[in-house]
């Protein structure tokens, strides 16, 4: 048990330090990203352009020798552009399925809210069940399958906001944000001659990732912690001003991501601290506030903060 724990933790820590070489000053975002990655969840990166969203996803793919694909979402993107399409083979006079970019390990869905809802929804099945249904055939996606979607929180012209059902599929919503001045100087100095991605070496293999993901599921979650998670999630449904609270899927994701996070910290059991740390990125994107509350200055983050502050920690 301990040996397995050590190995899984090693995998995570090597990934964290590898990502840290490329993404300076983003330790918290890397922690959360790895927590979601280890627990098999997908993430939504919401940030302004140029903060390193694509670099982060690429660096993760490079670090674990994963097959990486990037799809730039545009309004005219079709589901078949992502999933793949059957074409007629002239020689054999048969239709042959040409797999789309979704058949990979790490998919970067860039500016996901620019595509039409129809195309956005093509991702739903793949994200939830790791399989794709095309022309009445099911294709299972190879594990690990990890989606990093990005969207720009500032510009809304010509976008289709993600529906609640789709948002609920993302384990965490993260944002990288701007780093401080010193770091920004060191980032541009580091990239003066070459991009750090060019010198990035793989540190783990895909098998390590598969073992990591199956190990994370075995991390202990005591009954009191499960009750703590459920009471936090249920509390979001009773806050005045919240139109749509967090779903049971949110509770499940919160538990799984906390498992990943706790492993990164070297524990084989989930602590209330890891729940509190991951609760905001795991819940906020699932909350829908009513107009009055939004104009009254209420933000989903403050809803979750208030709930965390008043939900008694089981000691």
């Amino acid at each position: 048990m301990n040996e397995e724990l050590q190995r899984a933790r090693n995998t995570l820590q090597r990934l964290a330090s590898n990502l840290g070489q490329v993404m300076k000053g983003q330790e918290v975002a890397i922690r959360h990203l790895l927590a979601a990655f280890a627990s098999g969840g997908h993430i939504l990166l919401e940030d302004v352009p140029g903060t390193g969203k694509t670099t982060l996803a690429k660096a993760l793919a490079l670090s674990c020798r994963a097959d990486f694909q990037r799809v730039q979402f545009t309004p005219d993107l079709l589901p078949s552009d992502i999933l793949g399409v059957s074409v007629l083979e002239p020689a054999s006079r048969e239709f042959r399925f040409m797999p789309g970019p979704i058949f990979c390990h790490i998919l970067l869905a860039d500016e996901i809210n620019r595509a039409s809802p129809r195309t956005q929804s093509a991702l739903l099945e793949a994200m939830a069940e790791s399989q794709v249904s095309i022309e009445r055939r099911h294709y299972v996606l190879e594990s690990p399958f990890f989606v990093v979607a990005t969207q720009n929180p500032v510009e809304f012209h010509g976008t289709y906001p993600l529906p609640e059902a789709e948002l609920d599929r993302f384990a965490l919503r993260l944002s990288l944000g701007y780093v401080n001045e010193e770091l920004e100087v060191s980032i541009i100095s580091a990239q003066q001659l070459s991009h750090p991605l060019q010198s990035l070496q793989a540190c783990v293999g895909l098998d390590d990732i598969r073992q990591l993901q199956s190990f994370v599921q075995t991390i202990t979650v005591p009954e009191v912690i499960k009750r703590y998670i459920v009471s936090i999630v249920r509390a979001t449904r009773e806050v005045e001003g919240v139109r749509l609270g967090a779903s049971p899927r949110a509770a499940l994701t919160l538990m799984k991501c906390a498992q990943g996070l706790t492993l990164l910290d070297g524990f084989d059991f989930v602590t209330p601290d890891s729940i509190q740390e991951i609760a905001i990125p795991a819940i906020v994107h699932r909350l829908s506030l009513d107009h009055q509350a939004r104009f009254g200055g209420l933000r989903p983050e403050s809803v979750v903060e208030a709930i965390l502050a008043k939900t008694p920690v089981p000691v």
Partner: protein, 615 residues
């Protein structure tokens, strides 16, 4: 983008307010308290509830200001008084902010609708408060330009610290100067426009107010005449009135081109007698004007009112009161059987040439010149009673000069001014002195039956003729006239009446309070007293609440006693050393880090292992 608070804005605005609205001592008190907050280190630990209480206090003060200013009748309208006191009324909000730990005011203390949110936005009230002072300074309104200059200077001061850094300074200054010039132009233009509009409106509306020198009749004026049901007078009488009682406001003796004038009528100071008569009425006059004409029944023997030697009277008996209050109450004694016997003048029989020619055929038909005066009066009355009808709707407007001819020879219908003018003029053709009188007819009961109501549409005109050595009242308008007028009332008139009677009662009450200022403890003080006690008690209680977390008994506050004995001991140890307890939503590890007690981290991790690791 939020405006930055430039230093000194608040003191400057407060002093400006104090200067403009002549409240310097109060401004100084607020200013000193505000400066003290910079000099003293102590602050209130204000939670959301305390901020809300501060907001409530400001609301209550505001409410009392409304009640107080509307219940006393000062020189300035209540709304200006409230505006003038705004900085005082909202000062609790300012002090709540500057004396609190957070140094910001939650918006929920201003808006009730935001109180249900756990974490409302916060606001720095200092700049809004400074602007409020500037706004309030406008209520002082000295005639010079100091207010505009002050406002411009203040806005320049605030904007200077918030000017855009991307634009050249000269562009910014030019824009500001343009705004100042435009603002000045619009302001002065607006004032002038308003003055013009007021003058125009006054011309329009006073067309129906009696003018003691000139009565502009509506003869031939409009196709359809409609007067409002607004209550002008209330008449109280001890005994039933002779129905309908006519109250005379003004008398005219010279006619020319649809207008009645008063000839040679100087208003001279008049001291009314206070004799008693067999009948007495009290008139409540509700016209807010600079001067009013007193409505008097004929046969008036004495009148008593709140005037002080400022009554004027002309030779035709029209009584004018200068500088009237908005509400006037006066008591009149009269005897309807006593007639005025001052002789007529030559004006009372004069007729313009063309009018005389116009009336000549009718006078001939009625044979007026050969009849005795009494007979002539009766003949004219009979003529109007048998051949004429009352009508407010006169079809399309007539050529004004022809209106009277149209009435007498063709249409045979009109309103009281036609009847009164025609009667007066016909009497004059018979060489009987006659005058045209305007006033009110008292005939409608108030809804509660305690008084008579005189509405604007009860305005009436009639004739006085000098027959048998005295002035007799002749009213040849068909008696149905008041019913005809009342038909035009909307269906909700009774409700409007009840409402207006309350409004009148409040108006009278305010005015009478203003007349007799109360001595001693004011009535509203008794209302304030329990409220003050209640607020004080609430404040006292909230102080205790704030003090509570600092007390040293930790066991009473912990939400859940930890089940782990070792951790429990650790917790007791930390609490015993004077550290604040763990909040219910705080994990033990975070609590330690908050207190800076990382040395105990290992113990807590051990506890975690036991508690959550299933060991």
């Amino acid at each position: 983008m939020e405006l930055k608070y430039p230093a000194l804005s608040l003191p400057l605005a407060l002093l400006f307010w104090g200067w403009q609205s002549e409240m310097l001592p109060l401004a100084a008190v607020i200013l000193i308290l505000a400066i003290l907050s910079l000099k003293t280190p102590w602050r209130w630990e204000m939670g959301m509830a305390e901020f809300h209480r501060v907001g409530d206090l400001a609301t209550v003060l505001f409410g009392f200001a409304i009640v107080y200013f509307y219940s006393t009748d000062g020189d300035t309208p209540p709304i200006y008084q409230i505006l003038r006191w705004l900085p005082v009324l909202s000062s609790p909000l300012l002090f709540g902010q500057i004396y609190s730990m957070g140094q910001l005011l939650p918006l929920s203390s201003l808006f009730y609708s935001m109180r249900r949110y756990a974490n409302p936005s916060k606001l720095d009230i200092r700049l809004p408060y400074a602007f409020l002072c500037i706004l309030s300074a406008g209520s002082g309104n000295p005639d010079d330009q100091s207010y505009y200059i002050g406002v411009t200077a203040f806005v320049l001061w605030v904007l200077w610290f918030n000017r855009p850094k991307r634009q050249p300074l000269i562009v910014w200054l030019l824009c500001f100067a343009l705004a100042v010039i435009l603002g000045y132009g619009i302001q002065t233009g607006h004032v002038k426009l308003q003055a013009e509009a007021e003058e125009w409106a006054a011309d329009w509306f006073t067309a129906w107010e009696p003018d003691p020198f000139k009565a502009r009749t509506a003869i031939g004026d409009r196709g359809n005449l409609k007067l409002s049901s607004r209550v002008l007078l209330k008449v109280y009488s001890d005994q039933p009135l002779h129905h309908p009682l006519l109250l005379k406001e003004a008398t005219y003796d010279r006619y020319s081109d649809q207008h009645w004038y008063v000839s040679n009528a100087l208003f001279l100071p008049y001291t009314p007698s206070q004799q008693n008569g067999p009948y007495q009425i009290t008139v409540l006059h509700l016209l807010a004007q600079h001067s009013v004409l007193l409505a008097m029944p004929s046969g008036m023997s004495g009148v008593d009112g709140p005037w002080q030697n400022d009554l004027l009277r002309n030779r035709l008996g029209t009584i004018k009161w200068m500088e009237t209050p908005p509400v006037t109450r006066y008591r009149v004694a009269y005897d309807p059987n006593v007639k005025d016997s001052t002789g007529p003048t030559t004006f009372d029989t004069q007729l313009p040439q063309e009018t005389s020619e116009m009336l000549a055929p009718l006078a001939r038909d009625l044979n007026l010149r050969r009849l005795q005066p009494e007979q002539a009066v009766a003949t004219i009355a009979d003529f109007f009673a048998t051949h004429f009808a009352y009508s407010l709707d006169l079809g399309k407007p007539r050529n004004s000069g022809e209106a009277l001819r149209d009435f007498l020879y063709r249409r045979h219908a009109g309103h009281c001014e036609y009847f009164a003018t025609a009667t007066t003029l016909l009497l004059r053709t018979a060489a009987i002195p006659a005058r045209y009188v305007v006033g009110y007819s008292v005939q409608e009961f108030d809804w509660d039956g305690k008084a008579y109501l005189v509405r604007k549409r009860h305005a009436h005109a009639w004739t006085e003729a000098y027959v048998n050595g005295a002035w007799q009242t002749l009213d040849n308008t068909p008696t149905r006239w008041a019913e005809e007028e009342a038909k035009a009332d909307p269906w909700w008139q009774p409700v409007a009446d009840v409402w207006s009677s309350w409004a009148i009662a409040i108006k009278v009450w305010r005015w009478e309070r203003g007349q007799h200022p109360q001595q001693g403890f004011p009535w509203w003080g008794w209302l304030m007293l329990p409220l003050g006690v209640w607020l004080g008690w609430r404040l006292y209680r909230s102080r205790k609440k704030v003090a509570n977390p600092l007390s040293t008994d930790p066991s009473s506050r912990l939400p859940d006693q930890p089940k782990d004995l070792e951790y429990s001991r650790l917790e007791q140890k930390i609490l015993a050393s004077g550290h604040p307890p763990r909040n219910p939503g705080e994990t033990p590890l975070r609590w330690l880090r908050r207190l800076g007690l990382e040395i105990h981290e290992q113990e807590v991790l051990e506890f975690y292992r036991r508690r959550y690791g299933g060991e």
